[in-house]
């Protein structure tokens, strides 16, 4: 009996050690993604704590079950012990289960604010001293300054509007992009996630918390990326037949490069506006003629 218990204990500790020292490839099968943003990293460590506790319970329960099935299988001369229960034991494991959950709830509460509330931008981030960076909305970092991007989900593409750079109060001419969101590194980015049609869900695994884009509501989330690179993701809430193809990508670049990209984007949008304007004029000049030609000339 004692020997068996020792074996079980040894097995459990080996399993735990394996979890902690697991190589990267193996770890990715057991833990969520991280490395993009503080929120994702916090979630990762919270998940790991839960995983270890769950693994201990798992080994305990399944071990006890298998032990019973092996040790107490019917054999000649074995009499089942006719007991109806044990108040002490039952109160014991009820309290035990409750204590584990209290511990988990406490850890969650300790981490919840760090995951939900944005931190200030880093010193190497975008210079947020301008008045356009003062955040509105419920989610804001301690110093109240962040890059704010409106994320708009629609069947089946994501649009990103860089509201800090709105040239006029009505929002006309604000730079935007589709599919690829370019952000500066080391900068707190706050997302206001909305939807134009059905429910979508914004999820970039490496950046952490996913939020639903619910028509009529605004969901908020944030991230701060320290490493330049591409962070892929996709819509994770069923939004129709094109749901699978509603992919997204966040590209983090150094602040200087971000500003160049922004200027270029504004230029492209302006150019497109001018082209459209020219098209319209041509269209009204040739009213009534064959439309096919206009398309060609535009």
């Amino acid at each position: 009996m004692l020997r068996r218990r020792r074996t079980l204990g040894a097995l459990a500790s080996v399993a735990l050690l394996g979890l902690l020292l697991a190589p990267d490839a193996f770890a990715s099968a057991l833990t969520p993604e991280k490395g993009g943003s503080p929120a994702a990293n916090h979630i990762w460590s919270l998940y790991l704590i839960t995983l270890i506790i769950a693994a201990v319970i798992f080994v305990g329960v399944e071990g006890a079950l298998i032990y019973c099935l092996v040790r107490f299988r019917a054999r000649k001369g074995r009499e089942a012990k006719q007991v109806h229960g044990s108040a002490r034991l039952e109160i014991g494991w009820t309290v035990g289960a409750a204590l584990v959950l209290v511990a988990l709830a406490t850890v969650t509460f300790l981490d919840l604010r760090d995951i939900r509330d944005p931190t200030n931008s880093g010193p190497n981030g975008l210079n947020l001293s301008g008045s356009e960076y003062v955040t509105t909305g419920s989610l804001k970092p301690p110093n109240g300054r962040a890059l704010t991007i409106d994320v708009i989900g629609m069947q089946y593409i994501w649009q990103y509007v860089y509201t800090n750079y709105s040239p006029s109060p009505d929002g006309l001419g604000t730079p935007y992009s589709y599919y690829q969101m370019v952000v500066p590194t080391n900068t707190t980015v706050i997302l206001h996630v909305r939807s134009k049609d059905v429910v979508h869900e914004w999820w970039i695994p490496k950046l952490g918390a996913k939020v639903q884009a619910v028509p009529g509501y605004t969901s908020n989330t944030w991230f701060k990326i320290s490493k330049p690179g591409n962070y892929p993701g996709q819509c994770s809430f069923l939004c129709g037949r094109g749901h699978t193809r509603m992919i997204a990508e966040v590209t983090a670049v150094p602040p200087a490069q971000f500003q160049r990209w922004l200027v270029l984007q504004e230029l492209y949008l302006h150019k497109a506006d001018l082209q459209a304007q020219a098209c319209r004029q041509e269209l009204s000049a040739h009213q009534g003629a064959q439309s096919v030609e206009f398309v060609k000339s535009c």
């Binding site: 490839a25 990715s28 099968a29 057991l30 833990t31 969520p32 929120a39 916090h42 979630i43 919270l46 998940y47 839960t50 769950a54 399944e62 079950l65 019973c68 107490f72 299988r73 019917a74 054999r75 074995r78 009499e79 089942a80 012990k81 109806h84 229960g85 044990s86 039952e90 494991w93 009820t94 289960a97 988990l104 709830a105 969650t108 981490d111 919840l112 995951i115 939900r116 059905v198 429910v199 869900e201 695994p205 952490g208 918390a209 996913k210 939020v211 639903q212 619910v214 028509p215 009529g216 509501y217 969901s219 993701g233 994770s236 809430f237 069923l238 129709g240 037949r241 749901h243 699978t244």
Partner: protein, 566 residues
């Protein structure tokens, strides 16, 4: 010598034998709870096969990265039909079937309280199934089993599939509502003499909790789908934002039903396990009162946790925290059950018959589903895991590892009572091992899929990382699981005609359904025994043995008479 001559198996004396009604009309017009139970069991198993086939097609499509076996449209229809079928047309009615057949027998009653209402319940359920599956010939629903709005509004899905889904919910909902009232009244009013609440079999307790939850949850979903129907066809705007409706209203209403539904699907399976384990461990159930109380606790708490399906919605944090705490609380009574089941096996004399294997397999697999549920109950962790394959893995460990394994335990345990013949143990054990391994292979790896970034309800994925490998493992597992189910179907088919004759009490079980013949006569019991403990059949067997030891005299009396006079 008398002990040799007199089998301790209980028996009854029939004073007047009426030939059982035959023919298809007798099945259509029946109000006998046993026949209705069989109708429920057979029909819902047929739907199980349909839903399972859809699952296999889903797994085939995902068996390869960038696969084009089915179109996105068909894929969305497949998972919608699969989920809807398994929830509304397999697990709920299957458990209703067991309840119909065995609740009256277990409480020593001759039928349900309202036999005709009972028949109506079955036919409403069948109508719901036919309505949903008729849509296959036109355009099946494709908004998921949760019919998420506004996708399910007529703007986005104008075809009739969603309407078929709405009528399915209405018809099966009404069926469940009537059935639940029937169960409740039957248990409250028609128990055998001496069968107090504290001697009620645990399966009956679980059916009682199932009924109470259905009575509370069904009206809410009925109202919600009616609003959706009005939105779709009569110009109302309950759920359309542009006109002042609210999408979150639908999510709240749906999950107010949807989460209790999870417990509706699992509690009676818990009940079956609580019946099977003590019989084959040859021990009384460990902590009867704690298990019964935890059933009621789970039902109550189950009504408070629906917002944990909405952690990623723009809902105030304080509401999310409430849902997290109540979800944590539910783990306590669930843990109590698992510990008590292990306590039941502890120091028993465990006979490895098929029902026991399915029951212990259920305990082992459900534990995994319970533990993964803790991750999803933690708000920030759920922010990462919600709507990914991690959730798919979790619900399948609960519904396949939990409910379905419990249902199979019930099939192997009660088949002898229903048909009078035993199922083959050899085939049954093979079936168990294939299903058990199949479930582990199919669903365990899906946790990793979710952790690696694969959302649920997608018809294809790119070949990055280990996604294709994991999906292939899962697809192989699904066929192992399907083969296991097929073995049980073959087993049932063969044993119906060639199985060993079971006799009234082949397992030496504890509850009253084993007191009567297998299959039971139309009136169940000629004489209803008086119940003196939690395990009336043990008392009866003991009494027979005592009398037969005392010598002659006992031979002329039936066990029923002995019990009544004792």
């Amino acid at each position: 010598m008398a002990t040799v001559a007199l089998s301790p198996a209980p028996q009854i004396v029939a004073r007047r034998v009426e030939p059982a009604p035959r023919g298809i009309m007798s099945w259509i017009t029946t109000t006998d709870h046993k026949r209705i139970g069989i109708l429920y069991l057979v029909t819902s198993f047929a739907f199980f096969i349909l839903g399972g086939t859809e699952a296999l097609m889903i797994r085939l499509q995902l068996g390869e990265a960038n696969n084009t076996l089915v179109s996105p449209e068909v894929y969305n229809q497949l998972f919608t039909m699969h989920g809807t079928t398994m929830v509304f047309l397999f697990i709920v009615p299957m458990l209703a079937g067991f309840g119909n057949y065995f609740v009256p027998l277990m409480i020593g009653s001759r039928d349900m309280a309202f036999p005709r209402l009972n028949a109506l319940s079955y036919w409403l359920f069948l109508a719901g199934g036919i309505v949903l599956y008729s849509s296959v010939f036109w355009s099946p629903p494709e908004a998921g089993w949760i019919s998420t709005v506004p996708l399910a509004e007529s703007t986005y899905l104008p075809s009739g599939g969603v309407d078929a889904w709405i009528y399915l919910v209405h018809l099966t909902g009404l069926s469940s509502l009537l059935g639940s009232i029937n169960f409740y009244v039957t248990v409250a009013k028609m128990r055998a003499p001496g069968l107090s609440w504290s001697r009620l079999p645990l399966f009956v307790w679980s059916i009682l909790a199932y009924s109470l939850l259905l009575i509370i949850a069904i009206p809410v979903i009925a109202g919600a789908v009616t609003m959706l129907l009005l939105d779709r066809h009569f110009g109302t705007h309950f759920f359309s934002t542009a006109n002042g409706g609210s999408v979150l209203l639908w999510q709240n209403l749906f999950w107010f039903f949807g989460h209790p539904e999870v417990y509706i699907l699992i509690l009676p399976a818990f009940g079956i396990i609580s019946e099977v384990l003590p019989v084959f461990a040859r021990k009384p159930i460990f902590g009867y009162k704690a298990i019964a109380a935890s059933t009621i606790m789970i039902s109550f708490l189950g009504l408070l946790v629906w917002v944990h399906h909405m952690f990623t919605t723009p809902t105030p944090l304080v509401v999310l925290i409430f849902a997290m705490i109540s979800s944590f609380l539910i783990a306590v009574p669930t843990g109590i059950k698992i510990f008590n089941w292990i306590g039941t096996l502890w120091q028993g004399s465990i006979e490895f018959r098929t029902p026991l294997m399915f029951a212990t397999g259920m305990v082992g697999l459900f534990t995994i589903g319970g533990l993964s549920g803790i991750f999803l109950a933690m708000i920030p962790v759920d922010w990462q895991l919600s709507d990914t394959y991690f959730v798919v893995a979790h619900i399948h460990f609960v519904f396949v590892g939990g409910s379905t394994m419990g249902i199979f335990a019930g099939i192997y345990y009660w088949f002898p009572k229903i048909t009078g013949r035993m199922l083959s143990e050899r085939l049954g054990k093979w079936s168990f091992w294939f299903m058990f391994v199949g479930i582990l292979v199919t669903f365990m790896i899906q946790h990793s899929l979710g952790l690696d970034g694969m959302p649920r309800r997608v018809y294809e994925y790119a070949n990055v990382g280990n996604l294709q490998l994991y999906n292939q493992i899962s697809t192989v597992g699904s066929w192992i699981l399907a083969f296991g189910v097929l073995l049980t179907i073959i087993n049932v088919w063969r044993s119906l005609h060639h199985g060993t004759v079971a006799g009234p009490d082949p397992w030496k079980a504890n509850t009253l359904e084993w007191f009567t013949t297998s299959p039971p006569p139309i009136n169940n019991f000629d004489e209803i025994p008086r119940v003196r403990s939690l395990e009336p059949m043990k008392d009866i067997r003991r009494e027979i043995e005592r009398r037969s030891r005392e010598g002659s005299g006992a031979r002329e009396r039936t066990p029923a008479e002995i019990k009544v006079r004792a």
